[in-house]
């Protein structure tokens, strides 16, 4: 066996490392003081009792206020009333965001991998040393493999600055796992249908809807703040909610109809609904005639896809399929068939989301009140940078011409492009990983680890010691969002808004912001020209002045709202609308998919089912946690400290499982969970599936509250069903069984 180039290092090894690098500590401290003089990105205006921020605990980016107590300590965070994402109300994670700042397990100092007495460990380094190390390694990669052989994985607000650094260096390999591991298929499907993606926050007009259909989307457990609020408003106003889920989710418990579907059969249900809406003449004829392309082909396509046909596949009774289709049509166009967010399930996800898009078109809900509004956004004018070098190679070259319809980079594609194959002349040799725990984020961990072993350099930028941190060559401690400025939030909504994040406190320990790191790295890498501002305050003020405001004003208000440029939030009756598709119409029949050699209209394909004694592994969210990043947050672990595996009482009876009993999960590829997980016996889950909340089962001991708590779904996702259209990684084709001990089968 070849000795791996890189062993997993528990950051706890550091406590001893600190002992034998005595003078290093002094040097690091001195250097940090120098840096403070040069960079004032955490200078605080002292006269503010509350400071504006936008939340970084999830991607919803709610704007709010950080309040301090009499001693000047961060006390609580509340919402900003002007903010349409939060309407002045933060979710539990945003309210508990204070825990990110106070978490004593945070990354504190830059670290560099070293070998001591034959054992790999981290040593504490100064920032200057860490930057020099990275710059040297990057230069070597550039010399040996070209600048294109580097990649940035990023999730979160600091990504913009590392992106500029990467592009300036000469690499276009920049990806967020939020695309191919999450919402990518949805974007591709809606672009194929309407010439426009959904983006974030989703343009679903839930506030005014009269009927909302949720397919596997569990609003209320996924705490997409504005949507949770609007669903509640819709419930108040008597809207009909239809939930399709093998699990009796919180949303299902609020629904008029719950369709406990057999997992992996959603496309059959969607096609049957389309069949009913067309054959019972329930579709919006005027809308379809004026805006849609390919209705006749669609009608012919679904003729055999009757509710009776779908019953045999989905286990949903034909009369329920008909009744729910009629409910949707009755409320149309104020009906939303919600596109969901995490949609990478079975590898035919783009086609499933196409069916969702088509159904919405038949109901005439796109561009209509209570359906989908047309979002507006005010883009922040960034300073013009010198042109980036043109890369000769990107991750796409490793894809063999596949996934051309992916409109953003694939994180898994970049991972693949890091593993050399005989077909590829070049592979990626350097990664910067910012704010994403790739070990838990990318499916098929063996592949991720194989890619990591092929790297000459891996830099991890994070606030917490995550699993990915243990594989890094250099660890850079990022300060939390409560201790830094960041790029202006300019997300879409009914009206355009921007929001400011500014520091409420000095960065703890030696942690620093992404802006500061990228700026300083640029000096070591000779890329200063891409960072024209001396401080982030200057950069933000420059951008804000061009928008007619200023940093000083934003520090007082936090959120600024503009009126829409045009009165075009909904289509007016009979208004001519041009869609950005090949035909200029809403494509029920997709010409772009046909050109790419894919089915122009969605079809149902059967997916593998769990073998005897195995159950489909379904995962989802709890309202008090985000991904793996909150699992150690003291405030949020207080609300939920571990996940449990939901097991139907029939299954529990067969296995003799009791509530609260600990079991290990083993998947179809014989991968056993690293830690046991408690059983929750509940009627709320189908007998052919089990359910766990994502983000638990942490293996890094330095996470004192999260280590070994519960099971990691990511670890058990070794079967990946790749979407042939855009490369998304379908993760719901994994089956697990129970083991009473780690060593032997139950």
């Amino acid at each position: 066996m070849v000795k791996s180039r890189r062993d997993f290092i528990k950051i706890s090894a550091l406590s001893s490392a600190g002992l034998f690098v005595g003078n290093q500590v002094v040097k690091a401290a001195a250097s940090a003081a120098d840096s403070e003089k040069q960079n004032s990105d955490y200078k605080l205006p002292s006269d503010l009792k509350r400071t504006p921020t936008y939340c970084e605990v999830c991607f919803w980016k709610c704007a709010g206020w950080v309040h301090k107590d009499e001693d000047g300590q961060i006390k609580k965070i509340t919402g900003n009333d002007l903010d349409p994402n939060s309407n002045g109300r933060f979710c539990p994670r945003g309210t508990g965001g204070v825990g990110m700042y106070y978490d004593e397990d945070r990354l504190k100092y830059p670290l560099i991998r070293t070998e001591e007495r034959g054992k790999q460990t981290f040593r504490r380094a100064s920032w200057d040393e860490a930057f020099q190390y990275i710059a040297d390694k990057m230069a070597k990669i550039k010399e040996e493999h070209g600048p294109e052989a580097t990649a940035l994985f990023t999730h979160g607000s600091g990504g913009k600055y590392f992106t500029n650094l990467m592009k300036g260096f000469g690499s276009a390999n920049v990806a967020a796992p939020s695309y191919a591991q999450c919402r990518g298929p949805r974007e591709v499907a809606f672009i194929a249908t309407y010439g426009q993606g959904i983006n974030s926050p989703e343009n679903t007009d839930i506030r005014d809807t009269r009927c909302m259909v949720l397919i596997g989307s569990h609003i209320g457990e996924n705490m997409h703040n504005g949507h949770v609020q609007e669903m509640s408003d819709a419930i108040d106003k008597g809207a009909t909610i239809i939930t399709v889920d093998p699990r009796f989710s919180t949303a299902a418990s609020k629904s008029k109809y719950w369709l406990p579907i057999k997992p992996a059969t959603d496309i059959a249900l969607l096609l049957a609904w389309i069949h009913v809406i067309i054959n019972e003449d329930l579709y919006d004829k005027k809308y379809i005639e004026q805006y849609a392309y390919g209705f006749d082909q669609l009608k012919a396509h679904v003729q055999n896809m009757t509710p009776e046909w779908a019953y045999g596949i989905t286990t949903i009774k034909p009369d329920v399929i008909r009744k729910t289709a009629r409910e949707m049509a009755k409320a149309a166009p104020a009906t939303i068939v919600h596109p969901g967010r995490h949609v990478t399930w079975y590898g035919d996800d783009t086609q499933r989301l196409r069916a969702v898009a088509i159904l919405n078109a038949l109901l005439g809900s796109w561009g209509r009140r209570g359906g989908f509004y047309m979002p507006d956004k005010k883009s922040v004018p960034h300073a013009k940078l010198p042109p980036f070098p043109k890369p000769e190679f990107t991750w796409r070259d490793a894809m063999d011409g596949k996934y051309q319809l992916a409109d953003l980079a694939l994180a898994n594609g970049m991972c693949d492009a890091t593993i050399p194959t005989s077909a590829m002349s070049r592979s990626i040799k350097g990664w910067i990983v910012n704010g994403t725990n790739l070990i838990e984020t990318l499916p098929d961990r063996r592949k991720t680890l194989a890619a990591i072993q092929n790297l000459d350099l891996m830099v991890v930028v994070d606030t917490m010691p995550m699993e990915i941190t243990g594989w890094a060559d250099v660890v850079l401690p990022e300060c939390t969002y409560l201790e830094r400025y960041d790029s202006i939030r300019d997300s879409q909504h009914r009206e355009p808004t921007i929001a400011l994040r500014m520091p409420a406190a000095q960065p703890k320990y030696e942690s620093r912001s992404a802006w500061w790191m990228a700026k300083n790295l640029s000096r070591y890498m000779g890329l200063e020209q891409y960072f024209p501002f001396d401080t982030i305050e200057e950069e933000l003020d420059h951008e804000l002045k061009q928008m007619g405001t200023s940093l000083a004003e934003m520090q007082q208000v936090g959120v600024k709202k503009w009126k829409r440029a045009y009165d075009d939030i909904y289509f007016k009756d009979g208004e001519a609308v041009e869609f950005f598709t090949n035909t200029g119409k809403i494509e029920l029949y997709s010409t772009s998919l046909a050109e790419g050699g894919f089915d122009p209209m969605p079809t149902y394909t059967a997916h593998p089912e769990p073998p005897q004694g195995y159950y489909r592994l379904i995962y989802g969210r709890a309202p008090m946690h985000t991904f793996t990043r909150t699992a150690n947050n003291p405030n949020l672990t207080d609300l939920m400290s571990e996940n449990a595996v939901w097991v139907n009482p029939k299954v529990a009876g067969e296995w003799g499982l009791k509530n609260g009993q600990e079991v290990y999960l083993q998947n179809q590829d014989s991968v056993v969970s690293s830690f046991p997980v408690k059983v929750r016996v509940t009627e709320r889950i189908r007998w052919d599936s089990v359910y766990i909340v994502h983000g638990f089962g942490h293996a890094n001991k330095k996470l004192s509250r999260a280590f070994g708590r519960g099971a990691s779904d990511a670890e058990l996702i070794t079967n990946v069903m790749v979407d042939p259209i855009m490369g998304g990684t379908g993760m719901r084709g994994n089956f697990v069984t129970f083991r009473f001990t780690k060593g032997e089968e139950a």
Binding site: P92, S253, R684, R686
Partner: protein, 177 residues
């Protein structure tokens, strides 16, 4: 003045935002809580019913905790809010044992602590922290002596229940069903 709270179980998603907002507002130490969320399930798949609701002190009109307190620390404050005078509390736990709702705990500093309806906010015209933060707006707070308050209106137009009414405590936390 008769303060009361209502929880709309049709809207509550059990997110526990009320819990963490209370903790940060009132400096409730981590590991303790003045409010909490309950999930009650009935039925057999697929005929199921789940009720989620945020709970806290019921600020009873006939509060066993006030009756059982030997020092007078537990008392009725303005608007019927049941409070603990920390300086009078000896931490004997009589109130904790007498409370049918398990709404009290002993603070690490030695006194009994519980929900105050955030009276420090209410006196400034603000809602309690849990009500102000709730993303589903399922929590309501107001004055039942004012027939025109939202609280009074809600109890006129909506079906509701109270918790453990058989205990005879006359609780002032109403669960809208």
């Amino acid at each position: 003045m008769r303060y009361a709270m209502a929880v709309d179980s049709k809207k509550c998603v059990g997110c526990s935002d009320c819990v963490v907002a209370c903790q940060t507002e009132n400096n409730v130490p981590i590991g303790y809580a003045r409010d909490w969320v309950r999930e009650i399930n009935h039925g057999i798949y697929p005929e199921l019913h789940t009720e989620l609701r945020s709970e806290r002190c019921n600020h009873c009109d006939n509060a066993p905790c006030v009756r059982s307190c030997p020092t007078g620390a537990s008392h009725y404050a303005e608007g019927g809010i049941v409070k603990v005078a920390e300086e009078k509390c000896i931490g004997c736990s009589a109130c904790i044992i007498s409370c049918p709702y398990d709404a009290r705990y002993i603070h690490p500093k030695g006194y009994v602590d519980k929900c105050t309806f955030c009276d420090h906010r209410v006196k400034d015209g603000e809602d309690p922290a849990c009500v102000a933060v709730c993303p589903t707006k399922c929590l309501y707070f107001g004055d039942l002596d004012d027939p025109n308050s939202e609280m009074s209106t809600l109890l006129r137009v909506r079906k509701y229940k109270t918790l453990i009414p058989e205990a005879g405590t006359d609780p002032q936390l109403y669960i809208l069903v």
